[in-house]
Symmetry: D2
Subunit: 190 residues, 4 copies
């Protein structure tokens, strides 16, 4: 029973990561920093005769790592009112995995997971991040993944997030929910 945190930040130890630390503190987590991997834009080859061709980058390693976990936390700074390009590249490639015979359970696997979103931005994110959350909901709906919760943080400069009491309080609440979910998942298995 464990959690994968998928980080879309390009900056080390930024506000998004600081807030996420509150959420995952003490929990069994694998941290995946997308910035450490080379993930190329998807080539839409859905409709070519040969279908999608293998891509020489790190995507396959990352997605297989992600799929090992029961709970996924998408932690992204809000760039231009949306997820970071780094995270978008990763998610766009799911269209390829959907047709990948080496990942026959991709869709069904995602349908059984629980998802969380942590998003931090500077420009009125409590309202202007709502389209981003709706997009995540549509993505999770596509797979049947349960969208269990989100935290929106407000921060621009390094350290700003430490002043966002509301985000911190909600991060702590998410922490509790995650701890309980892990416990009950353990019980189901045993």
């Amino acid at each position: 029973m464990s959690i994968a945190v998928i980080y879309g930040s390009t900056r080390e130890k930024g506000n998004t990561e600081w807030l996420t630390e509150y959420v995952i503190s003490g929990l069994p987590v694998e941290k995946i920093y997308l910035r450490d991997y080379n993930i190329l834009p998807i080539k839409d080859e859905r409709h070519t005769e040969a279908g999608f061709q293998p891509v020489l980058d790190d995507y396959q390693v990352v997605i297989e790592q992600v799929l090992k976990h029961e709970i996924l936390i998408f932690a992204t700074p809000i760039y231009w009112y949306s997820m970071s390009g780094t995270m978008k590249l990763f998610i766009d490639r799911w269209s390829q995995s959907l047709r990948d015979k080496h990942l026959p359970d991709f869709r069904e696997g995602l349908s059984k997971k629980k998802a969380y979103v942590i998003a931090v931005g500077g420009d009125n994110p409590s309202i202007k991040a709502l389209p981003l959350l709706q997009q995540f909901q549509y993505i999770f709906d596509f797979f049947g993944t349960a969208f269990e919760g989100y935290v929106i943080g407000k921060a621009s400069k390094p350290g700003d997030i430490q002043k966002d009491n509301k985000a911190i309080a909600n991060a702590i609440l998410m922490q509790k929910v995650l701890a309980e979910q892990l416990k009950s998942l353990e019980k189901e298995k045993s």
Copy 2:
């Protein structure tokens, strides 16, 4: 007086391009296919002492080309209810241009432009693309760019778009509006 079309598709002659052809037919347009360029994810160096560092890719060439035009059309397939990763990488880099001393008029320049969006997707885009449109609105609001119109198309397989009468009718209407805008921009200048 001219128009830049910024294509976010990864596929040649796909549905998004087909629909966009209706819009730009007969108009003075420069087509920029982002897939032909190497654009790296932004490194958020806003808060480092040295600031943003030069990046060895094609972004600078593309943004300077875009800025030459008065009207911008963002033409993107809808990937996972959002703009393509290819287009997102391009827009994310605007954060760097905002602080680029070689582009001192970046923000003011964009404030004077008119913007259009053409978005094509397969999964109920007339509703599920609305968050994407709201995000474009927030982006344009940030700069003061006028968001003059959009067309949403419904298509999955190659050629599907040709059956979307509503999208085609709206593309033709957008064509007329663009032609009139170009005329009145000409007059203003002369």
Copy 3:
């Protein structure tokens, strides 16, 4: 085979009605002007022992009239970025009909209908009406009603709508779709 138009306007022959006339021209339509009826705000008695009590107003007559038709068009001016209060009063009462033993097929009946929305407003409706459309989608999703299409019009003063070429073109397209749907519904029945 027929269509009910549910008008939420408080003004006679306003912009919303003008645009709707384009849509329904020549089609078998029953027009229901909510302003002509007395519909009281719902009293939330879901959780009282006795449940909902009969209400002395015109709601029951109106909802029964609506339910006779296969296709529903909700035509509302956009008041404060939402449907008119008049229309909201009517829809709020659906919570009562869901528990009304005299309407045992209320939910299932709505699940078989097709729905359209026509909304006209003055303040950038092509973007600012998007939340309203999402709410209609959530309502229709609740029942399983098919949300077949919408037209957004831009107008403030009387007559303004006649200058909105885009809305008129889309109204005409909706007209065609409705005509075809009626035909194929007739065939199914015969």
Copy 4:
């Protein structure tokens, strides 16, 4: 320095009121229960020669009461993914107040106020209430009112809200913010 709570519920002591009590506990508040007043749907007479005519109901009393306060809390159950019809009737009438010569400072008055929203619903409100929040943002933007915060609660049956730890935690946070705002408003005045 004081707060007006504008209640849109039709039920006494329901979940919305319970949650709001957490927010306002110990603060100088005037509670306005819209259900206690008779407020008629707006008649759109903006464009008639004579303009809006006086209406024989309680709206005027209520709006004048609301305008006396510096901070407004809109507390509404979520009916059909939107504010209650009762609250919508009240807000629709603002279009009349905008043209009311007895309220010459209506618009400017609202521009100086701070606004909060408390919304409670049963069907995945953390996502499905987002359009409602965006509509409130558009309303507040229209006047220049500061949208200072919101709490979304999840509850259907009486008492359900008491199990929503997240909503309660956020209500308590909102309480603190309000207490601080009142203090600093006092200082400004003295």
